[in-house]
């Protein structure tokens, strides 16, 4: 990364779509003049932050042009329209492919010749029973685990054929939010978020500071930067880990159960945050979640796993119509059914 690139709006930088502010105008959530006034105020208040769309949203709320909940609803309705439209785009080129992947761990066949394709610049949810190999799939995508059989491709790269140096380069396209956050205990929130920038870039400390503070503001952890991981609640921990994942502006964001162990309100807030992040950045996102059926509202594509096999892979709008009894039971949460737990 270069210093010149860091404040560029990621969505515009990737040439994918309108910036978030323009989307808000296009959807009639705010007017053109309100957006312009918000941008001017923001540039006065945060000159270093440039055209940061999250701050635009915050500024719009601060100026009273839109309420926080209306802003989130507006984002969500925009996302819902995209989700509906995704049905027609379901055949688009995938960015990550697992081809006939088998993984045997401690003699158990965790993944059984699965084929998975992750669509680029979309949110994909992976659902399934605990211990069903969901986290193992994420770790294969980023090369933390190697398949016993089969191949993993990221773009054009075959991960198994890469040298350590090439693999590190491919990993540079990823960020990973681990289930427990994986924040470093000896570092405070600020230093945890700054860590990848200090290690992987030659940016000055003032540039890193601006970037870190912006990410903390995006996940609503402003003012918490001096706290250590053991002083944070579960939700704060996940948000701090999300900030660390976002700070490098990755192309692909992998989230391993970002809402596990959180109460429904925080869970909802994290879903909004993920949606907000996606709408601003257009990262390719892969989310492992047990929040079924809630998660179907927050993703384009769903992959359902059971006993190491893929039961369903398709648009989130279609999984509800699945006749597969395992999927039906998983969605309804019934004790009776093909999955016997008691």
């Amino acid at each position: 990364m270069t210093e010149q690139a860091i404040y560029m709006d990621p969505a515009l930088a990737r040439g994918t779509t309108l910036s978030l502010g323009r989307q808000l105008v296009a959807n009639g959530c705010v007017t053109e003049s309100q957006l312009d006034r918000a941008l001017r105020k923001q540039n006065n208040d945060h000159p270093a932050a440039g055209n940061n769309e999250h701050l635009v949203g915050r500024t719009l709320v601060d100026l009273g042009y839109i309420s926080q909940s209306a802003l989130l609803d507006c984002l969500f309705s925009q996302f819902s329209r995209e989700r509906e439209a995704y049905r027609a785009d379901a055949g688009e080129t995938p960015i990550i492919r697992l081809e006939q992947v088998v993984k045997i761990l401690d003699g158990r066949r965790v993944l059984d010749a699965i084929d998975i394709a992750i669509p680029a610049k979309r949110v994909t949810a992976i659902i399934g029973m605990s211990g069903g190999g969901k986290s193992v799939i994420l770790k294969h995508m980023v090369g933390l685990m190697r398949p016993t059989e089969g191949e993993v491709r990221v773009g054009e790269h075959l991960l198994g054929a890469l040298s350590p140096r090439q693999l590190a380069k491919v990993r540079g396209r990823f960020s990973f939010l681990f289930q427990g956050g994986a924040l470093f205990d000896s570092l405070n929130v600020y230093d945890n978020v700054a860590f990848p920038l200090r290690e992987k870039t030659d940016w000055s400390e003032s540039v890193i500071h601006d970037r870190v503070m912006r990410c903390l503001e995006e996940v609503n952890l402003f003012g918490m930067e001096r706290k250590f991981p053991d002083e944070l609640s579960g939700g704060m921990m996940k948000r701090a880990a999300l900030a660390r994942a976002l700070v490098t502006d990755p192309e692909i964001l992998l989230l391993d159960e970002p809402t596990a162990g959180l109460d429904p309100i925080i869970e909802n807030a994290i879903h909004y945050l993920i949606c907000d992040t996606y709408m601003r950045t257009r990262y390719t996102m892969v989310v492992i979640s047990h929040a079924v059926p809630e998660i179907f509202r927050w993703c384009h594509h769903v992959i359902a796993l059971h006993k190491g096999k893929v039961l369903f892979s398709g648009p989130s709008t279609e999984i509800g119509q699945s006749r597969n009894p395992v999927i039906r039971q998983f969605i309804s949460g019934d004790i009776d059914g093909p999955i016997q737990v008691i």
Partner: protein, 260 residues
């Protein structure tokens, strides 16, 4: 009966294979660490932190052990030598015992107990909380970032700790021999000056570097490959301390037999 014998042989075979595999893994780990020591980037801040943790924070326990080791050696040595009328040799006896044996061995054991166990526990907890994986995803090799500075610090700091142990141990012997038992200070130090050779000091330093490597190698290996949660951390820590301590004593015997 025949089946039982076969089963017994099978178990011995399986255990032997497991031990050989573990040794192979440990040596491959050491090879990776040695390679990473000479490969940039060099993280000096991390190294200084580990020198502080392993070295500076072990000083108190090293000093305490050294002074009492020197005192008890002088006390025991005096009563043994006095039987043969050789009290004048107390200084050299204390100094040579400390410089050649007790200094490096006790320093190694103290560092194992104080810092080695903490290294294993810290790395083990990082492992089970996926912090090593987090480094890997960021493109930072966890072995280079977490293990290398600890091993480097062990190699650098153990000789210094041993020298400090030696000096304080000899002073502890002085306290007992001269202040308590009424020996002349000139006899005590004069005997040391004439008896201790450079070869003795070099032997002690070679042992200290070897023990520094053993402690940090074994403890980081056990921590780095910790599995199965909190119980795994506890098992790794115990196993690291036991294995390091035993290896120090075994290695001490072989170095002594070579260097004599």
């Amino acid at each position: 009966m025949f089946n039982q014998i076969i089963e017994f042989i099978r178990k011995i075979g399986a255990a032997s294979l497991e031990i050989i595999q573990e040794m192979g893994r440990m040596f491959l780990f050491l090879w990776d660490v040695v390679r990473s020591i000479v490969t940039p980037p060099f993280r000096w801040t991390n190294l200084l932190k580990q020198i502080h943790f392993i070295g500076i924070r072990s000083l108190f326990v090293i000093a305490l052990t050294a002074i009492f080791a020197g005192m008890v050696l002088a006390l025991q040595g005096y009563y043994t030598l006095s039987r043969f009328g050789s009290e004048a040799l107390l200084g050299p006896a204390v100094a040579l015992s400390i410089i050649r044996e007790l200094g490096p061995v006790l320093s190694g054991l103290m560092v194992t107990g104080r810092a080695g166990s903490a290294l294993t526990a810290e790395l083990g907890i990082m492992r089970i909380r996926e912090q090593g994986d987090a480094l890997d995803v960021m493109g930072i090799p966890p072995l280079k970032y977490l293990v290398t500075p600890r091993v480097e610090a062990g190699l650098l700091i153990m000789p210094l700790l041993t020298v400090i142990f030696d000096v304080i141990g000899i002073l502890g012997g002085y306290l007992v021999a001269v202040r308590l038992l009424g020996m002349s200070g000139g006899t005590y130090f004069g005997g040391i000056e004439s008896a201790v050779e450079m070869r003795d000091i070099v032997t002690g330093l070679i042992k200290s570097v070897s023990f520094g490597l053993i402690v940090t190698w074994v403890c980081t290996y056990k921590g780095y490959y910790t599995r199965r949660g909190a119980e795994g951390v506890s098992q790794s820590t115990t196993s690291a301390v036991v294995m390091s301590s035993v290896l120090i004593l075994v290695c001490d015997y072989f170095i002594t037999s070579i260097m004599l």
